[in-house]
């Protein structure tokens, strides 16, 4: 063995000692994505708070909490169904894992439909990105951008749930993939916990 080979071997030993933090690479990658996405949502919510705090005529257009309460319930419940799906996958119950993953996806679709219905209701009342009948025109821009970004995440999550669920059932993916996707889905749920009070509940008409 040449000196170069032994040097390379020495290096490769160090580099391939194991994945970062001794955690599967896919999971670390998802966590890094989640951290980055946290910053994206935090920046959006901070900008929203900044504008809201600096506006004397910030609108309070929400008269009912029924829709947003239902959406919250559905999203929280979908996190539970995701966990049940992961547990089934870990136990080797392929049919059960697939079924619960699809139930989670169905909950995501229901959430998205309720969201779109709410958007259409607000648009019907005259709210657009730049104007609304109630006050500061920036309300529409901040509302649609924050909830739109979250809705995009839910939509991507639903697509991913269906794809990963089907591939898991066919044997191409394993329980680790369900777990990594579950991390993303729980994150979407977590973001909603901040969007609801800041964007909806603080803007309730009393």
């Amino acid at each position: 063995m040449s000196q170069a080979d032994s040097t390379l071997e020495g290096h490769s030993t160090g580099l391939t000692a194991g994945p970062a933090f001794s955690i599967p690479t896919k999971k670390v990658a998802m966590w890094l994505f989640i951290i980055a996405d946290t910053m994206t949502f935090a920046a959006c919510l901070l900008a929203y708070g900044f504008v809201r705090n600096g506006s004397a005529d910030w609108p309070r257009p929400f008269h009912s909490i029924t829709n947003v309460a239902l959406m919250t319930f559905i999203l929280l419940t979908s996190s539970l169904t995701m966990l049940i799906g992961l547990r089934a996958a870990r136990a080797g119950d392929k049919a059960g894992a697939f079924r619960w993953t699809m139930i989670t996806a169905a909950a995501g679709i229901l959430f998205a439909l309720l969201h779109v219905r709410e958007w259409l209701g607000l648009i019907d009342k005259g709210m657009t990105l730049f104007k609304n009948p109630w006050g500061n025109g920036l309300f529409g821009a901040s509302f649609f951008s924050i909830t739109g970004l979250h809705l995009t995440h839910v939509t991507c999550g639903v697509i991913a749930l269906i794809v990963v669920g089907v591939r898991y059932k066919s044997g191409r993916y394993n329980a680790d993939d369900i777990e990594v996707l579950g991390l993303y889905w729980h994150f979407v749920d977590l973001v909603w916990m901040f969007v609801v009070p800041l964007v909806y509940l603080l803007n309730l008409a009393h």
Partner: protein
């Protein structure tokens, strides 16, 4: 204990408890929304509840609690540090309504 080991052990009881806690905390946010308090107090209370909710979700739904300690520290310290450094501009947000901060 890894996440896989943790999820193999026991039933769904712990997750169900966390789920019920999250539902209750979400309900609490709705109750706060109907309290007769000023907006800043409402904001602080709702944010506090949301942080507790997020902590429960991250630790038990996302199983961060069962990961390696070094990884938990990396995620928490890095995330909290960046989130805190984002808060530097709050005083400036009142300038449009009440004038430049500390100008009087």
């Amino acid at each position: 204990m890894t996440t896989a080991e943790a999820s193999k052990r026991g039933g769904i009881g712990k997750e169900l408890m966390v789920y019920l806690c999250l539902l209750a905390l979400a309900g609490l946010q709705f109750v706060i929304a109907y309290q007769n308090i000023d907006a800043s107090q409402m904001f602080i209370r709702m944010l506090a509840v949301a942080i507790v909710e997020a902590g429960l979700a991250v630790m038990f739904f996302m199983h961060l609690w069962t990961e390696k300690r070094r990884f938990v520290l990396f995620v928490l310290i890095f995330t909290i540090f960046v989130l805190l450094t984002m808060q530097y501009g709050w005083t400036d947000s009142t300038r449009m309504v009440v004038g430049a901060p500390f100008s009087k």
